[in-house]
Symmetry: C2
Subunit: 165 residues, 2 copies
């Protein structure tokens, strides 16, 4: 699961399913400091430019990126119109972001997502995201949904956004 | 872990740790319909009357019980002053409530809590609450914290509140 863009070095996104608990852990490095990568997650004008696969457009419906706030957006292409919603449990800039996440089509399946932004040498950042759900079945269903396409293409777009400065 | 009060029949609260996943499941029945039990969870004036052990007073700091809202409260007695906070991920009255939960003293330990309100014969309700965290270690730490005292005494107080009508 590696991604190459024209403007940056090849970057590897690691997506791991824990064998013991129903979590998915994603790890990725970016060529920008934590403050800028964090900002791309919480500023809705930046977020819509990179989230998800290249084939969809994201439209923010609601966005209040503070501890105790919430969000919702729609992912759209010709044949698709999907809503997603959740809460910002904690926004601790620039190191930690804890959110809930639900696809509107399956509202009883909720993920709790914790994202850590770790500073690296040279003004770079490693993000480590852990999603947990209630059961192994749901975790495996999420993994088999093709999520890695959206993750990899999204992170490529985020590389491009960060390179534009 | 049973609880008896003067005014109601003996009720059993079941607190189960799943052997496979880091969840805690709590089950309890109440002598009131789902609408009234749900209301006792989302109305802050009712909530403070029953949440937690008998030895503490609960003071609401913030309360916005709607999908995408959030909450925080303080638990107080002479030697104690603890804050708790979280989000209302979904408020689906009167059947389902999904929240995040954090003790302020350990802000990196977050639970995702789903509460179902199941109607029973005779205008009664069974609640089934599932809390999930990222690791077995954190789940076992929560279980060993003496949480069952607050849960059992709280549910006794809720019985009394519901009996007062």
């Amino acid at each position: 699961m590696s991604a190459t863009t024209g403007s940056t070095t090849t970057k590897q996104t690691t997506i791991e399913a824990d064998p013991e608990v129903p979590t998915i852990t994603m790890t990725r490095e970016f060529d920008a400091p934590p403050e800028r990568v964090f900002q791309a997650w919480v500023d809705p004008e930046l977020f819509v430019q990179w989230i998800g696969p290249r084939s969809i457009d994201t439209r923010i419906e609601h966005w209040d990126a503070r501890t105790g706030g919430s969000w919702s957006y729609t992912a759209e292409r010709e044949d698709l119109h999907e809503t997603f919603f959740g809460s910002f449990h904690e926004v601790r800039s620039p190191e930690r972001l804890v959110q809930t996440f639900t696809w509107g089509g399956e509202p009883d399946s909720v993920s709790l997502e914790t994202l850590r932004f770790e500073p690296l040498e040279g003004g770079r950042t490693r993000i480590v995201g852990v999603s947990v759900v209630e059961s192994m079945e749901l975790r495996d269903l999420i993994l088999s949904s093709g999520m890695e396409v959206g993750v990899n293409e999204g992170y490529e777009k985020l590389d491009e956004l960060l390179a534009r400065g």
